[in-house]
């Protein structure tokens, strides 16, 4: 799971163009949305695409995203349980 979390941190910074954030700055349990990393609604949609593209997970209901994308920890857990790639 550690490798996955590291991978997710790198991907998020890359895919979401978080230029001034380094992997070391992102803690596993930091809030990704709201105050934490400050991601917004378009970022959430991009993460849904990333789940599909990189891990083969198609979210049945996009609203599920809110819980899944709370933190790197919750994302890693969900992906490791549901990935098809």
């Amino acid at each position: 799971m550690e490798a996955l979390k590291q991978e997710l941190k790198e991907k998020i910074i890359n895919v979401l163009n978080l230029e001034d954030i380094a992997v070391e700055d992102v803690n596993d349990n930091d809030a990704l949305f709201g105050d934490g990393l400050g991601l917004d609604s378009i970022d959430a949609l991009e993460l849904i695409v990333m789940l599909d593209k990189d891990y083969g997970i198609k979210l049945a209901d996009p609203k599920e995203g809110k819980a899944i994308f709370q933190s790197i920890e919750t994302m890693a857990k969900y992906i490791s349980e549901n990935r098809t790639k």
Binding site: D40, S41, I42, L45, I48, V49
Partner: protein, 389 residues
């Protein structure tokens, strides 16, 4: 000081009117056919397949009907969107008697233009550039002025009306033909889909279970002029103010729309009690409809009958502002308002007066509003003129 007020007076004195209108939509190729279909509660939205991985709903124009209609006015080669636009413009260019001289402008409104001609590789054909599209339209009729293209997301169609009004009031032009159009394309469908913004059923503006847009395609055209002779309506005021909030989500307080309507009403010299009807943007996304309800309430317009035409046409993007204005002008001419198709249970946090059945209503003033990506908003007030039709 004196010079300043003289200029303002000059610009204020000149009235600007809409005298001719037309539209090409899935509901018909003239205004009368469209109004009849709407009055009968018919929708132009049907189930489609092919452009997306799964079947979807959209307001699509029948290709055979379009080809046949266009063959009657020309045998030359034009793109599908150009055919729609040319068919929309042709009757009024022919019948209005307006000379296509240096005081006559062509104003074209679109979001994506001939995006369906975008190749997967190589150089872009001229028609993909919006001025390439505009030149094809202008060239068909022989306009002698350079066409002006406005591309400002989904407010383009109604913003074009405000631009035309200002160009005429300034004296630069006496007549402005506006044509607005957009097509249902894989490009736009896939984009809205990626935004999770598409409804899986025909859209339901203002309803509690609304779940997003249905896309549509159409072309609409109007003649904006200083000549009152055949005026359907006077354009009395307009406002276009940005939300300054987010590039895709509307302001939660409806700030830009609120200010736009306020300015349009102030310029028109009308208070809220004078607005008889509002033709709204009503895209049926959770956020847009909610934002509109908030803005209307802030202005004390919550009791004014409102409808969204997107239940009949879908969201026709760069055409929507103008197409919906064309239909709303007929509402005003006939003193009749039409059902806001797709609406059932109230689904916005502040009350608004959604029209649930066709009914007679005296309309002397109506408001057209639109909002779009980039935080843009436009509001225009129209006044009935004595000439009616």
């Amino acid at each position: 000081m004196e010079k300043k007020s003289r200029i303002r007076k000059i610009m204020e004195l000149k009235n600007v009117y809409i005298t001719h209108t037309n539209c090409i939509t899935p509901l018909g190729f003239d205004v009368a056919a469209n109004v009849q279909a709407i009055a009968e509660g018919n929708t132009g939205i049907t189930q489609q397949s092919g452009m997306l991985p799964e079947p979807f709903y959209a307001g699509v124009i029948d290709n055979d009907a379009l080809t046949t209609a266009f063959a009657a006015i020309s045998d030359k080669k034009y793109t599908r969107l150009e055919k729609m636009m040319l068919l929309a413009l042709q009757p009024m260019v022919q019948k209005s008697g307006v000379q296509l001289d240096s005081k006559t402008a062509l104003l074209l409104s679109t979001t994506k233009g001939n995006i369906t001609s975008l190749p997967n590789e190589g150089n872009l054909p001229d028609e993909v550039y919006l001025q390439g599209l505009a030149k094809n339209i202008a060239g068909f009729f022989g306009f002698t002025t350079m066409p002006i293209v406005v591309s400002n997301a989904c407010v383009s169609g109604i913003m074009a009306v405000s631009v035309a009004k200002r160009l005429i009031q300034s004296g630069l032009y006496d007549n402005v033909f506006i044509v607005a159009g957009d097509e249902v394309s894989e490009f736009v469908l896939s984009g809205f889909n990626s935004f999770q913004a598409m409804s899986s059923v025909p859209c339901k503006p203002y309803s509690a279970d609304r779940s997003g847009v249905t896309l549509g395609e159409a072309a609409a055209a109007v003649l904006v002029t200083k000549d009152s002779a055949k005026a359907k309506a006077k354009i009395t005021g307009d406002g276009s103010i940005n939300d300054a909030n987010h590039i895709s989500g509307p302001s939660r307080t409806g700030e830009g729309l609120f200010r736009s309507i306020e300015i349009a009403m102030k310029e028109s010299g009308v208070g809220r009690e004078k607005i008889d009807y509002i033709s709204t943007h009503g895209t049926a996304t959770p956020f847009n409809d909610e934002m509109e309800a908030i803005a209307f309430n802030r202005l004390g317009l919550e009791n004014v009958p409102v409808n969204s035409f997107k239940g009949y046409y879908g969201h026709t993007l760069g055409a929507s502002g103008l197409l919906e204005t064309v239909i709303a002008l007929e509402s005003m001419a006939q003193n009749k308002v039409f059902t806001s198709l797709g609406y059932d249970e109230p689904g916005v946090s502040q009350p608004i007066n959604v029209i649930t059945k066709n009914e007679d209503r005296q309309i002397n003033y109506f408001l057209k509003t639109a909002s779009g990506f980039g935080g843009c908003n436009t509001a225009v007030v129209f006044e009935k003129t004595g000439n009616g039709r």
